[in-house]
């Protein structure tokens, strides 16, 4: 909302981007999600630091890390960060494509958004399924 500079006292009218008025297009969803997942991944970096320190701390340190991460809440956070990485990775490649001038049409950006959402969910589930079905741990 802002004053109309041309007509003093004129009716106040809403300004773009009309967040509360229009139904959210999927491109708006992916745009804000890119930002949210970026913030989540910044927090994830702190967990990564904690993991590396726990490794350097020997068996007790490593166990204390896993005592927290192997709980339902810990695994939920880990899954959220895994999905965030998958989403930010896929959508980040979309951003790089835009920087090169590709994918700007209305239809392409809509399809790209849907593709990125689907791909990120599939990737995150696949990563967890891979570990849970015993296909992880190959660096033993």
């Amino acid at each position: 909302m802002a004053d109309n500079p041309q007509v003093p006292g004129a009716q106040q009218r809403p300004l773009s981007p009309h967040l509360t008025i229009y139904r959210w297009p999927v491109t708006m969803m992916t745009s804000i999600t890119h930002r949210a997942t970026g913030i989540a991944l910044s927090v994830g970096m702190v967990i990564l630091a904690w993991w590396l320190v726990s490794i350097s701390n020997g068996p007790e340190g490593f166990e204390s890390f896993h005592a927290v991460v192997d709980t339902p809440l810990g695994l939920l956070v880990l899954f959220a960060i895994t999905w965030s990485l998958a989403f930010h990775f896929c959508n980040g490649i979309r951003h790089l494509a835009w920087d090169l001038g590709y994918g700007f049409s209305k239809e392409a950006s809509r399809q790209g958004s849907i593709l990125v959402i689907a791909l990120s969910v599939i990737l995150a589930v696949a990563i967890f399924a891979c570990v849970w079905t015993g296909h992880g741990g190959y660096l033993r």
């Binding site: 930002r35 970026g38 320190v53 990485l85 990775f89 992880g136 660096l139 033993r140």
Partner: protein, 123 residues
């Protein structure tokens, strides 16, 4: 109303030109292969003991790649968080406060990771 010097420097209202934009892109491109490598490591070490992780990160290449991933990811994070602060915080004082918080947090996290990697290498 630019002075000739400002025009020559071409830095505009941000005082840093396109430097921020460009660094965000360079780190993003570097993070494409590095995140794939990180994922390979995270899945590969999932469900193993700390001995497997110690042996893995004791190898110089793995430690160097992990350090590169951490430093570049944190740099990319600092640039991204700066944009978030720029967009949502509108008073100069708070803005500087949050910028400093982000930078301190990023340096603290990064040095912790590097310290842990060095400690593993020394074992």
């Amino acid at each position: 109303m630019n002075t000739p010097l400002q025009r020559v420097q071409g830095l505009g209202a941000s005082h840093s030109g396109t430097g921020h934009f460009w660094r965000q892109r360079v780190t993003a491109v570097a993070l494409v292969p590095l995140s794939l490598w990180f994922l390979y490591v995270a899945i590969g070490l999932a469900g193993t003991t700390e001995v497997s992780a110690l042996v893995f990160f004791a190898h110089p290449w793995n430690a160097i790649l992990m350090a590169a991933f951490v430093i570049i990811a944190l740099y990319h994070a600092a640039l991204g968080l700066q944009v978030v602060i720029d967009d949502y915080i509108h008073t100069a004082g708070s803005k500087i406060f949050f910028f400093l918080m982000v930078r301190f947090a990023v340096i603290a996290t990064g040095s912790t990771c590097i310290f842990a990697l060095l400690r593993i290498a020394a074992q």
